[in-house]
Symmetry: C2
Subunit: 380 residues, 2 copies
């Protein structure tokens, strides 16, 4: 018997009661019954986003919501500043360029924090920058960014929007949409919400609506004005993925019960445990500003990371992610979100230790686990 455990930074494991919620008989998306579910889900999403702004559900991957943030806001030829320090920062650069806007790209380097003073001076020199694109947690490097600081800074530029990719971070790390002045925040279902992939979310501030109402980039499926119009009746402009929304409602209910601050705390504790364990095993954390959502651990040079991940899956049933693009083969990435508890965290550390041993890397069995246990069970 091999039990399967997902530590990939999405998709993640989904709680059994949420899986069963989605396995209930399908209800039509334009019935009072479903609209009641959608209404509750939207209300709880606002809590999850920490916002009073509009929040919409899109049937599609996180990239669909990222594209919505670009095509609804920027008209061709307009300038945007994009902070890009990983695969998903690069995605915003690609999106901005694809739809004909100009991207001023700030590249602090993969795994490095961003220098806010530099952003400030670029914004001062380019008063016509319409939006700053940033990432809450860069999944490819396991790095957290100072969105609170960025929000303060951007608030000095009344014509500029702050647009944040919160796909991997939201729910795992602190993020206060309204308090921090995030105009547009996007997220996805297969991360801290512990749902299957297939839904993405987007919140829109009043300031962002002004821009959206005047943007000339063509859009249809991702036209936020269509979503706003339908939302007046808690409806959707296109057939919604009803079973996933039923799961969403259930998942948000549980998060609300737990309290978002406790959710952040839980992720922090597990991330600290994994980071502590990695260091105790003599390994390095890739990021200079490590996130509590995903941890990227640098593997010893002698180990092929792709094979390591594949062996973890085959031998222990554990899915951890390898590196992407320039980090391919060099790191393993472990998510702290989704349906997992402290003992799963211990399990994945134990799995890594044993696998390192099998790869002839010098590590004292139990050293990582011991450190993780200290962190996990003293912080409670």
């Amino acid at each position: 018997m091999m039990k399967k455990r997902l530590f990939t930074p999405g998709p993640i494991s989904v709680p059994e009661d949420v899986l069963l919620e989605m396995a209930k008989p399908i209800i039509h998306h334009r019935t009072p019954e479903f609209l009641e579910i959608a209404k509750q889900a939207i209300e709880d999403l606002k809590y999850f986003f920490q916002t009073k702004n509009d929040v919409f559900i899109i049937a599609g991957s996180g990239t669909a919501a990222m594209e919505a943030a670009v095509v609804n806001v920027l008209s061709p030829g307009e300038k945007a500043l994009v902070i890009s320090a990983g695969k998903f920062g690069e995605r915003f650069v690609e999106l901005v360029k694809t739809f004909g806007a100009e991207a001023i790209v700030i590249e602090p380097g993969w795994g490095n924090p961003v220098d806010l003073e530099n952003i400030k001076s670029v914004l001062k020199q380019n008063r016509d920058i319409k939006a700053v694109f940033a990432t809450l947690v860069e999944t490819s490097t396991g790095t957290s960014y100072d969105i609170e600081g960025l929000g303060k800074l951007v608030s000095d530029f009344p014509e500029t929007l702050l647009i944040v990719d919160g796909i991997s971070g939201l729910g795992a790390v602190e993020c206060k949409t309204d308090l921090w002045g995030i105009d547009i925040l996007v997220s996805g279902s297969q991360k801290a919400l512990s749902l299957p992939p297939g839904l993405s979310f987007i919140s829109i501030s009043e300031k962002a609506w002004e821009k959206i109402n005047n943007s000339s980039t063509p859009r249809y499926y991702l036209d936020l004005k269509k979503y706003k119009k339908a939302m007046e009746k808690f409806d959707f402009p296109f057939t919604m993925a009803v079973s996933l929304v039923c799961g969403l409602k259930k998942s948000l209910e549980k998060i609300k019960q737990q309290g978002i601050e406790n959710l952040w705390r839980m992720h922090r504790k597990r991330a600290m445990a994994v980071r502590g364990a990695a260091i105790a095993m003599g390994l390095e954390i890739f990021s200079k500003s490590p996130s509590d959502a995903v941890t990227a651990i640098v593997l010893p040079h002698t180990i092929d990371g792709e094979k390591f991940c594949s062996d973890m899956r085959k031998e222990f049933g554990m899915s951890v992610a390898g590196g992407q693009d320039k980090l391919k083969g060099r790191v393993i990435r472990i998510s702290h979100f989704g349906y997992q508890d402290d003992f799963d965290t211990i399990a994945v550390i134990a799995g890594i230790e044993v696998m390192l041993k099998k790869y002839k890397h010098q590590v004292e069995l139990g050293s990582g686990v011991k450190q993780a246990m200290k962190i996990l069970f003293s912080l409670q």
Copy 2:
């Protein structure tokens, strides 16, 4: 106890074993295990589409696949002929115009078949028409279109693509993508595939690829070149809705076992039964070319269709659809696809009869059911 029955033209009821398949623990979308599922699903989708062309899965509603068909093929300023005789034909018109192409709109009128000679003469007069957009089954009116005939006609114009919205029709009515010369066919999960909404599908011919490779309309999430590149490894460019794809594989397995011709036959029989019953009850079928996927029945003037549908749901647990846009309140629409059998068809007819009686409409109880039974059980 009120049992719920869905006869809406999507979403529909999903078989219990498919619901449970989707309730299984989530697997990561980049594991050999999932890629094996995706590979099988794609192979069986080709059978479902009756094509050897590329077929891709998109995480999104049917409209996402319709948009993909438009933005990948047409460059701004190019001409397209769109046959529009209902809400979804109109959607193609809106999409073509939104993305800056020119739409020559042929409007035979809601519920009417299209005059192929007219199409031919328009194509002859406009040799620069890049694509003809058509609908296999128009859900809003329950009308079938002669795509086979249209395919023959368009094949005389080697520079013109035939693009078909098969969202409501595919699997319910005969459709032979390759044999009929359909260059791009789009479909969705929540119809004859008996799945929840959330996935859409698109097939692309060699001839269409030439056009796609040269089209200049910006696209990213719906860029088919990205899907083709990923598909080389049975992968997806963006995180796929894995649980829905697991359901898709299961559903296609069952369809393959049954045989697509039998699936068409089954829909035809039920559609004939409902049409026969409606006439026996003294009602009219809205469409002049009724489809075997969805039947739109005209209600007596005295009856408010919206209330009728709502009462059917409240009193009998039966979801039938009302009319859309200009048909609002005037018709009820009954789907013949999804998880339903002949006895469910009898049930919905019985439900309509009883409700008509409650609305004081003169109808002999059992007259529709009797006619339906004759059709259902003599054709077997």
